[in-house]
Symmetry: C2
Subunit: 193 residues, 2 copies
């Protein structure tokens, strides 16, 4: 059996990665979303291994030391991380795994998983990106200006990606990513034996 | 504007390349079929540049000497060839060009056009390939045996191809090739600037 694909969807802040990934998840059941690990307490209704893998701080820090996370962060005293062991198990089982991740993180994934498929989501235009960032209403003008300045640098990272998909509409972007996955599954260089 | 893609569909005799390419042509109007050149006389109803480019034998042989054909053959005293200049004009105009070609020819195309996309059509199984070759009713048992022996060697050429598509059904194979074309159009390494 061929291993699954690790599909990494990334792009600048405000480009619509989250919306695209949610649509991909709901339309393609054979696309597994990687479950994160955390040290925060389990909330009512949450299920171990579905919402998160719940770890003690000691366990989490030990795993950081072991390099067991693709990436991790501390937020308000709790740790969150993307566990390599979860991704590895899914890929070995032949499942395609979807990761939505920021641009720095995406390049780290490519280093750890050279076979991963990096998809850069592009805004239809820079004007549209500015409009979307303002439209969210969550960020100050200053933060938006900073994000747009970042975009000028982020654009230069496109060359490290495998594919670029313009987010004209969510449906079109989702269809293109689905087609990229089919093509990668037909790729001769991925075939074993 | 990005250049068009040169999509080469190839595979063993009897695998169904022709049926797949005809279906692709009829379903995807943006996929241009490369028009061949010939020295045979124009028949009634044929149109220059649509059915063939009609050349004199002198012109044809001069073009052979110039390396202007991707491949050519002499059949019953007439010459037939795939003109590079036609392919180049279509690709430069941004059109995707479809070529259906035997396996030796496909590897020659890859040498002349390293950016070309080579698709290997695989039979669902070797039993099925044998069945299809017999089912055509055009070949003797001896010819079929020779073709199946060829297949054992042709399989080893898969590694030189970009993609492998199993011809389970024509519709599925056509859909996969269409998806491969979309993915290649999103490929970062193809993008100019």
């Amino acid at each position: 059996m061929n291993k699954g694909l690790l599909v990494v969807v990334s792009g600048p802040s405000g480009v619509g990665k989250g919306t695209i990934c949610n649509a991909l998840r709901s339309q393609y059941e054979d696309l597994v979303y990687s479950v994160s690990a955390t040290t925060r307490l389990m909330r009512e209704g949450e299920v171990e291994g579905v919402n998160y893998f719940f770890l003690s701080k000691e366990d989490f820090q030990e795993k950081i030391a072991d390099g067991a996370f693709l990436e991790w962060a501390e937020v308000y005293g709790n740790f969150y991380g993307t566990p390599k062991w979860v991704i590895d198990a899914e890929l070995t089982a032949g499942n395609n795994v979807l990761l939505e991740i920021d641009m720095q993180g995406a390049l780290q994934v490519k280093k750890a998983y050279p076979e991963s498929v990096l998809v850069f989501i592009l805004p239809p235009s820079e004007e549209e990106l500015a409009k979307r960032l303002s439209g969210r209403g969550t960020d100050s003008a200053e933060v938006i200006a900073k994000r747009l300045a970042c975009w000028q640098q982020e654009k230069a990272m496109l060359k490290h990606y495998d594919y670029a998909v313009v987010n004209d509409t969510v449906a079109q972007a989702v269809e293109k990513i689905s087609r990229i996955i089919t093509a990668e599954e037909c790729s001769v260089k991925r075939m074993e034996n």
